[in-house]
């Protein structure tokens, strides 16, 4: 393994990207037509990349497991998308967006990447507006913004509580246009089951056609993974049920380093668990914290109806503990504070595992209509799921696994440690450090896909113009396909008694209990052992009905669950080595006297990039030191 080279360009922060871009090599239009690129995943990152690459003239093959690219889970993002437009004249700037992101990420992200993401954010808003995305507007006809999760300026563009859906449909429409033009060939209902490497370069993928069950080989000159995060490792999470780690994990097993796997964001405002068969936690946008006040009873185990608990007996604990930011503290802080109150016995509801989010004061101050305009669809959604009308009584919320800051290690070009394999959006690790700020996810995915990758991939492909078409009948493709086929047959042959989901549920519980919001060395070790035990049971007692040459949803699930055992172990491993608390990663052993996260910049200001050494073998850790030249590292205080 060679030394990690992040390829961060020299020069002043604000000029790095423009200077670097000017130095990148180009591919002529005539040559672009000869170059093929595979894009896996069609969320905001994948759809934007596929369409931008198609527009440039490359031959693109795009893949998704859903029946339509429009259904990727970016669709569920609610709150908004950040940009440094400074439309509110509140002294926002690219620098300030950069600074907030670095600080929010608890100084564990790369300065240069973050600055670039902030820099292209304005172009993203221009592009979506031109694509017809119906962002909210004010009465003068200009775009409206709101303040969002943990920042003091108003830089979040939104489309009611459906910003992700509207941005994704915008990106989907640009993808659709390229499909119609023939520059992008769309392969829906496909699972990527392996990456093919030929002579050290990523050259293709093996997919399973989810309708016929057949395995397929696809080749290209470069492969782009836009496959999202691995938050479903917790089973109960805010993600779509099909979201999974397998594509990224297969790339990891083939040599791509996996960075900061334990950095996983727990979102503070999801609807709590209501029944035993629940497999999904629905998010309530954190924009609700702009107007909602979070509280629990001052009395332990208070079973009174929330409307019967008088004002003076309520503990608005976020406002009490963090007076400067109050209910708008970043997600990790809000999540841990909720868990702390519930663990101490003050939680609401029968389970005691929830806190109240109350809109009464906002409705009294601004009127029901104003609240309805802002959050109408979220309130409806809440009522549908719980049967409770939040206009009349407070919502109940609890933290849930949400977003993975960790992911495949990439350099400044967004290329992984495998030449020709790129990772964009949530599937990479680079921009959010140890904690992601609200509305930065849509910003990063779109920036990566529309404005960054299309430039950097050209520099790589400039060396490929003489390569010619990559044949799929060569040995590495045959071997990869054979490996996948054997794996599938191994699953089918187990013939046990239990469903894949039942294992996933137990796996998720292990991860939530041992590698969740609060972690300690002993618990993490225990977590690893429990994963090993459960994995053994999985390989003995799994049952997949039917056969593999048809629609077989149980087989699809089992393939994903098998990878989660390994992902889970790596998360624990990463959390064990990081003897500090930062962002979403909170180690019991490392906290201040007041119970806040205690960072150790002297010893842990690095990216932990893991190298796969085989099933159950101890992985190797490589360190990429993080240098902060443009911000001063400070304790992250929201008090």
């Amino acid at each position: 393994m060679q030394q990690l080279n992040s390829k961060i360009p020299e020069g002043p922060l604000a000029d790095k990207w423009s200077r670097y871009k000017a130095s990148l090599r180009l591919v002529s239009p005539a040559n672009k037509k000869k170059l093929e690129i595979i894009v896996v995943g069609t969320g905001l990152a994948g759809a934007s990349a596929a369409s931008a690459l198609g527009e440039l003239g490359y031959k693109v093959k795009a893949f998704c497991f859903q029946d339509s690219p429009r259904r990727a889970h970016s669709v569920a993002a609610q709150g908004g998308i950040n940009a440094a437009k400074n439309y509110k004249n509140d002294n926002d700037s690219i620098y300030r967006l950069f600074f907030d992101t670095i600080k929010g990420g608890d100084y564990r992200a790369r300065e240069a990447n973050v600055y670039r993401a902030a820099e292209v954010s304005n172009l993203v808003i221009d592009h979506y507006t031109a694509l017809g995305v119906p962002f909210a507007r004010d009465y003068g006809g200009a775009l409206d913004t709101r303040s969002f999760g943990g920042v003091q300026v108003s830089r979040t563009f939104y489309a009611k509580g459906q910003t992700g859906q509207q941005c994704l449909l915008g990106a989907y429409s640009s993808l659709t246009r390229q499909i119609a033009k023939g520059t992008v060939k769309m392969f829906s209902r496909r699972d990527m089951l392996d990456l093919v490497i030929v002579e050290g370069k990523a050259r293709g993928i093996i997919t399973r056609n989810l309708v016929s069950g057949e395995l397929e080989r696809h080749s290209a000159h470069a492969v782009v993974l836009a496959t999202g995060g691995y938050g479903t490792v917790f089973y109960l999470s805010t993600l779509g049920l099909g979201s999974n780690a397998s594509a990224a994990w297969n790339a990891h097993k083939k040599g791509a380093l996996f960075a900061n796997p334990s950095f996983i964001q727990i979102h503070p405002t999801s609807i709590p668990v209501l029944n035993d068969y629940q497999c999904k936690l629905t998010l309530m946008s954190e924009s609700l914290r702009n107007d909602g006040r979070v509280w629990v009873s001052k009395e332990k185990g208070d079973k009174r109806h929330p409307t019967e608990i008088p004002e003076e007996e309520r503990d608005y604990y976020l406002e009490r503990k963090y007076p400067a930011f109050g209910n708008l503290v970043p997600r990790d802080v809000a999540s841990r504070a909720a868990k702390e109150r519930c663990d101490a016995g003050y939680g609401a509801g029968d389970s005691g595992l929830s806190v109240y989010l109350d809109f009464k004061d906002a409705i009294d101050a601004h009127g029901k209509k104003a609240i309805q305009d802002k959050y109408g669809n979220l309130f409806e959604m809440y009522e549908k799921i719980t049967g409770i009308n939040p206009y009349n009584q407070p919502m109940r919320i609890y933290p849930a696994g949400h977003y993975t800051m960790g992911g495949l290690w990439v350099d400044y070009n967004l290329m992984t440690t495998i030449p020709g394999l790129f990772a964009i959006g949530e599937s990479n690790f680079s921009d959010h450090g140890a904690n992601r700020l609200g509305a930065n996810s849509l910003m990063q995915c779109s920036g990566d896909g529309y404005f960054i990758l299309p430039n950097t991939i050209g520099d790589y492909l400039a060396d490929e113009i003489r390569t010619g078409k990559i044949p799929t009948d060569q040995q590495p493709f045959k071997e990869a396909e054979k490996g996948v086929e054997e794996k599938i047959q191994k699953f089918m042959a187990i013939g046990g008694r239990k469903s894949a989901s039942s294992f996933h549920k137990r796996l998720g519980k292990i991860m939530w209990d041992h590698c969740g919001m609060r972690r300690d060395a002993e618990g993490l070790q225990k977590g690893k052992e429990l994963l090993n035990e459960l994995e053994e049971e999985f390989w003995k007692d799994l049952r997949i009905p039917g056969n593999d040459r048809e629609i077989n949803q149980e087989l699809e699930k089992a393939l994903k669950v098998a990878d989660f055992f390994e992902v889970g172990r790596l998360m624990c491993e990463d959390a064990i080595q990081r003897e500090e608390s930062c962002g979403a990663h909170f180690r019991e052993e490392h906290q201040t006297e007041t119970g806040e996260a205690k960072r150790d910049d002297k010893n842990f200001a690095y990216v932990a990039a893991w190298e796969y050494k085989g099933h159950r073998e101890k992985p190797d850790m490589h360190k990429e030191p993080l240098r902060f030249e443009h911000v001063e590292i400070k304790e992250r205080s929201y008090k």
Binding site: S51, A52, E55, Q66, D67, S68, R70, R71, H73, V75, A76, K85, Y87, L123, I125, D126, H127, T129, A130, L131, G132, P134, R137, D138, Y139, G141, L143, A159, K160, Q162, Q165, Q166, S173, S174, T176, A180, M186, S188, G240, L241, G242, N275, Y277, Q278, C279, K280, L283, E380, K384, I385, Y450, K498, S499, S502, P545, G546, E550, I551, Q553, E554
Partner: protein
């Protein structure tokens, strides 16, 4: 609560399907309908039977993947609710619940409750977009759009592409689906440039895919989980006719 399920089972696209009966005990009213099916499937798998195949993903009513025809209505008895948001508290203890896939010629059944909606994709491929290349967009605030228009465009843009409108319609018409996209773009300045070509191409493709005509029963609006108004169909029809008139003028 206990319920009796009558579920459409069909091995694959070629096979002939039929209803099968499954009594199900100890269902929690807090379960969503899809969680109830998960619960059934877990029992089927443990018994060694084939689980019921159905599609779903986000389970929060936004991705448009799920869509079951429940007791004779797309997405079941609650208005403005997708199947994944429908909870068992909407049903009575002891109730018989019929669950079928979408029924439409343009949505062939692939297995059990899964249908092929690629006809929807092909309608979008003809012109369901604004033709702007990455990098050529003007500054976002350079074109003001009145809030009233922007909000109206948003109301059309909320379509999740689930296909309930087709399943609800006795003619299996996709008018509401196409109209939502056509109207969203026709109303805003960014989309107006190509409005005439767009409506022409999308309507033609809709016909080519075998979707039926609109006979104004408003079933689509009633069963649309996002409450999209049939007014957009009227807008689409206006756009369509005016595109014809203008075309002739050009000649």
């Amino acid at each position: 609560m206990n319920v009796t399920l009558k579920i459409w089972r069909q091995k694959n696209a070629q096979a002939k399907g039929k209803f099968k009966t499954y009594p199900l005990q100890d269902v929690s009213p807090e379960m969503s309908v899809l969680e109830m099916l998960d619960y059934l499937n877990m029992q089927l798998i443990e018994k060694g039977d084939a689980p019921v195949a159905f599609e779903h993903d986000c389970r929060e009513g936004i991705c448009g993947t799920c869509g079951l025809y429940i007791n004779g209505r797309p997405h079941g008895p609650m208005r403005n609710t997708t199947t994944c948001e429908l909870h068992m508290r909407a049903f009575k203890d002891g109730e018989i619940i019929y669950i079928e896939p979408w029924r439409a010629r343009a949505f062939p059944v692939l297995k059990d409750l899964i249908v092929d909606r690629s006809s929807f994709e092909r309608i979008m491929h003809t012109a369901g977009f604004i033709s702007i290349n990455t990098g050529s967009a003007p500054e976002a605030n350079s074109t003001p759009v009145s809030k009233i228009i922007a909000d109206k465009a948003f109301d059309a843009a909320v379509c999740i592409g689930c296909g309930a409108c087709v399943a609800a319609c006795k003619n299996s018409s996709a008018m509401l689906y196409a109209a939502a996209k056509i109207a969203q773009y026709a109303m805003i300045p960014q989309g107006k440039v190509e409005a005439k070509e767009r409506v022409d191409k999308m309507v033609r493709q809709m016909d080519a895919e075998g979707f039926g005509f609109c006979s104004n029963t408003y079933g689509c609006e009633f069963d649309c989980p996002k409450g999209i108004s049939v007014d957009f169909i009227a807008l689409m029809n206006r756009e369509f006719f005016s595109s014809k008139v203008c075309k002739q003028k050009h000649k």
